[in-house]
């Protein structure tokens, strides 16, 4: 099953062509990184994939349905690029993460045990279960980023799209993040993320789409800098398969 299928996509924002004839697909279960310099169109590309930017030309289908007719949005989770969790009124970590369930709720169905369990799992995944009642504003930048990821995870998406989740995030939070994404990926979920530097995410990435000046420059196995990773016969294994050593990423689940 193809999650995203973008063909010859062109995106024009404010009169400027930001994406030019971009084609890329993401298959179910894939872990794809979108790389590239500042201004190369990475953010625009992921925003287009999740339906936030209209296409000036080309086609996009999501889970096999043209985006204009796609209605099953709770299958997607999206983590935008944010410096902090927004809003002028204080909110608790639990409230923000629970809002990630809203797309799955029916107006006449109350927040159920299953909803609460999903929120708890999401908070455990990002290592913030103990901060559930704290105001988001009292958390560090890296922790706030983890709250945003937990909000997306709470919706139990099949595909998670993240825009620069590692930017300005401390090493601890990066490790936790890698653990959470690895967990999702191991359970058959797809991940698409924009990144500047990969850090602990590097070993998770199966494919890298490199953007340059609004076009796809290369699409294939991620660049492996050195060591055994560089060997052509190297078979990439997840270091966090379902075994006790999965706590490599500080995640005991």
């Amino acid at each position: 099953m193809t999650v995203f299928d973008l063909q010859h996509g062109t995106v024009v924002l404010g009169g400027r062509r930001i994406l030019e004839d971009v084609s890329m697909t993401v298959d179910e279960g894939e872990f794809v990184a979108i790389l590239g310099a500042n201004g190369s169109g990475k953010t625009t590309l992921v925003r287009t994939l999740v339906g936030l930017n209209p296409l000036a030309a080309g086609q996009l289908s999501v889970f096999g349905t043209p985006v204009a007719r796609f209605r099953d949005w709770p299958r997607l989770g999206y983590v935008p690029q944010r410096l902090s969790v927004g809003g002028g009124v204080p909110a608790t970590v639990g409230e923000v993460v629970a809002s990630g369930r809203t797309g799955r709720l029916n107006r006449f169905r109350r927040f159920s045990g299953a909803d609460r369990a999903a929120v708890e799992h999401a908070l455990e995944d990002v290592g913030l279960a103990h901060r559930v009642d704290d105001l988001v504003a009292t958390l560090s930048g890296g922790q706030q980023q983890r709250v945003l990821i937990a909000r997306a995870l709470a919706g139990e998406p099949e595909v998670l799209v993240l825009d620069e989740p590692t930017a300005g995030v401390d090493a601890d939070s990066q490790d936790t993040l890698a653990g959470a994404l690895g967990h999702l990926s191991n359970n058959g979920g797809s991940v698409v993320l924009v990144a500047h530097e990969l850090g602990p995410l590097e070993s998770l990435i199966e494919r890298a789409v490199v953007m340059s000046h609004g076009r796809v420059q290369s699409d294939g196995p991620p660049p492996r800098p050195e060591g055994h990773h560089a060997h052509p016969d190297h078979v990439h294994l997840h270091p966090h398969a379902d075994e006790p050593s999965s706590s490599t990423f500080g995640l005991d689940r």
Binding site: D72, V89, S99, T102, L105, L135
Partner: protein, 273 residues
Amino acid sequence: MTTILAFDFMRRGLLAALLVGLAAPSIGTFLVQRRLSLTGDGIGHVAFTGVGLGVLLRTSPVLTAVVVSVIGAVVIEIVRERAQASGDVALALLFYGGLAGGSILIRLAGGTNAALGGYLFGSLSSVSDSDLLVIVTLSLVVICTIALFLRELFAVCQDLDVARVSGLPVRFLNLLVAVGAAVTVTVAMRTVGLLLVSALMVVPVATVQLLARSFRGTLYGACVLGAVMSVGGLVLSYYADVPPGGSIVMLSLAAFLVAAVARHFREANLGGA
């Protein structure tokens, strides 16, 4: 207190103040969360034209104000959605037009300065029986709508993009807030006045969020505080013989100061512990 309740107009005024005090901060919480605190002011200006129209047409100014301010709120929302940079100026133009239009229409209709002041700063004796019916109905509609859409509104005000991706009807919810704000403005017009209505939407929220520990806590606390300030201010205005808008807002600002001082001491205590 019993002497106050002896007057019909005071009983009507107090009931209106209670409901407006509950409704205004409930919609205000979402305006503050989206950092649109001044939206209420803008709608208040536009509503003034609606009042003028009502006076000119010899119909209920509250009803024409509801219609005009809802139209104004929808236009404001569309302008905000469409234009990013130029939206600010477009909104300013709309606000000035609203205020100017109202002042002209009321004069053309032969309205007095006193009548004008009543609409702008509230007036104790102006709540008629038919007004009260409109005020009660619309306040309850606003409060129930917010209760019904609480989760969606929170998600949308928290993060527009994420709400959109999760499939929520973002445009509908944004319009709901805008229309709710417009309705609240007109409902509050009789007691607080159009120029001060926004304060009742924003100040209780700003006050409670200084001390609250959650979004829900802020929302509920602001509604309670809004109701207390609104009723208390009205009683104060009766005894002090000042416009109710002024006393309600002054009382709210005093509460804000108390909360700010309380927070300061709480943080000082936490810091010392």
